[in-house]
């Protein structure tokens, strides 16, 4: 009897958990869709920026590669030696998303160790509560951490972080800025990556297309001026894209994790149910045998 009651409680608790995970799965599916749409919605902007950068690249490349000359923009300036590297890790504010947070953090820590092995100092900047907690738990010092980026990153919010870090770069406090985040490759494929966002390599900015400036192109105010203002914008949008991709990946990871949890829960419920039915049957059989034994004894 005791075992029966115990099984019943467990079945109930599994069922309740399934209800929660299934709901979370549905919510994550809807949010993933939204974030994927945002990513595709932002794509034309990234492409336009690329196109403009290419259009004016002739001027930019000339300004950037003038021998011994200062680069056209401080973001293009490659420090002679890399002593201090900043690593921005993008994690989620919430858990229940499988290996999403732990994988990107593990990658970031590995990367940081590799940099330290080369004799560089690594400053860790963390976005997302989960990354913050993990670092504090493992007693890994962070230079700064934020958790104001929500499920749907806003350009202005991300620009804030980007601005803080680029100021440090311009001031010479850091020699390079890397971002560790989940790259959204496709709806079924995401992977944690580390990318360098500062300094911007001129060939990134110009896309290597050897200065294909249309001769009849009207440029206002001037190719140099546009190039100069495209550069910081590219930096900001690169960081923003990382956040967008991370947000989309997060929801997909959560959906997958919650789907797995729901499936596991259903399987567990099935097994428990079977066990419960067997135990009940066994109990009934015992009771019948007892009754029959009693009747037999009375004869």
């Amino acid at each position: 009897m005791a075992q029966l009651r115990e099984l019943k409680t467990r079945i109930k608790s599994v069922r309740n958990t399934i209800k929660i995970t299934r709901t979370m799965e549905l919510v994550a599916t809807a949010r993933a869709k939204q974030n994927q749409d945002r990513l595709t919605g932002a794509q034309p902007y990234f492409e336009t920026l690329d196109r403009i950068a290419r259009d004016v690249s002739g001027a930019g490349a000339a300004a950037a590669s003038g021998e011994g000359a200062e680069p056209a923009h401080p973001f293009l300036k490659v420090p002679e030696t890399e002593k201090r590297v900043a690593l921005l890790v993008i994690t989620a504010n919430r858990g229940f998303c499988g290996g999403y947070n732990s994988n990107v953090l593990a990658l970031a820590f590995r990367k940081a160790d590799a940099e330290r092995a080369k004799g560089r100092t690594v400053d860790l900047y963390v976005s997302g509560k989960k990354g913050n907690t993990a670092c504090r738990f493992q007693k890994i010092p962070m230079a700064e951490s934020w958790h104001h980026i929500g499920d749907q990153p806003k350009f202005a919010e991300v620009a804030e972080i980007a601005e803080t870090l680029s100021q440090k770069f311009v001031a010479g406090e850091i020699d390079r800025l890397d971002v560790a985040y989940w790259r959204y490759l496709s709806a079924s494929n995401q992977a944690p990556v580390v990318e360098t966002v500062l300094p911007i390599r001129p060939d990134d900015a110009a896309d290597g297309d050897d200065a294909k400036v249309a001769t009849d192109l009207i440029i206002e105010p001037s190719a140099e001026a546009i190039f100069e203002s495209v550069i910081p914008l590219r930096y900001r949008t690169n960081v923003f894209r990382a956040f967008l991709e991370a947000a989309a990946s997060e929801q997909l990871a959560r959906r997958a994790a919650m789907k797995a949890a729901t499936d596991n829960g259903s399987e567990m419920g099935r097994v428990l149910n079977q066990r419960y039915n067997r135990a009940r049957q066994a109990q009934i059989t015992t009771e019948i045998l007892e009754v029959m034994g009693g009747a037999e004894a009375l004869k």
Partner: protein, 142 residues
């Protein structure tokens, strides 16, 4: 097709507008620039201000454009703005309040604090752009 071109306004967050148009007026970095169909290839920097788009039915749509770039070519006007708000979504009172607070805040920032001043100026400019677009749009429609 004469008198006809396509226009797209894209921002980092979404595509803000897309359609066939007759004329596009944008806030260039040194004053307004206007484009008609068959315009020569053009690349330009945009300031903060009001954009007007005249569609094929001669209906004018107003936008607040918050900095960015425009590229024109092959009868397509492509606006890559850091922010773009269509006038119908501008709350004029709110924009006016924002402009006022931004102005007051800016006055409090010391001149030597270059970075803070830049941020303040951008805030003010974007609020003013919204006010401008909102006002012009409501004037046209009343």
């Amino acid at each position: 097709m004469a008198n006809r071109m396509t226009c797209r306004i894209v921002t980092p967050e979404a595509e803000a507008w897309k359609g066939d148009v007759r004329q596009v007026v944008l806030p260039g970095s040194d004053g307004e620039v206007a484009f008609l169909s068959d315009h020569a290839p053009y690349v330009g920097r945009l300031g903060f201000g009001e954009a007007r788009i005249t569609d094929l039915d001669n209906k004018v749509t107003h936008f607040a454009v918050l900095g960015g770039f425009v590229t024109v070519g092959g009868n397509e006007v492509l606006v890559a703005a850091e922010g773009a708000v269509i006038a119908s979504e501008i709350d004029l009172d709110e924009a006016r309040r924002d402009a006022q607070t931004a102005e007051e805040e800016l006055r409090k920032i010391p001149v030597r604090d270059e970075f803070e001043r830049d941020a303040g100026e951008i805030k003010l400019a974007s609020a003013r752009a919204r006010v401008l677009a909102g006002e012009r749009s409501s004037k046209r429609n009343t």
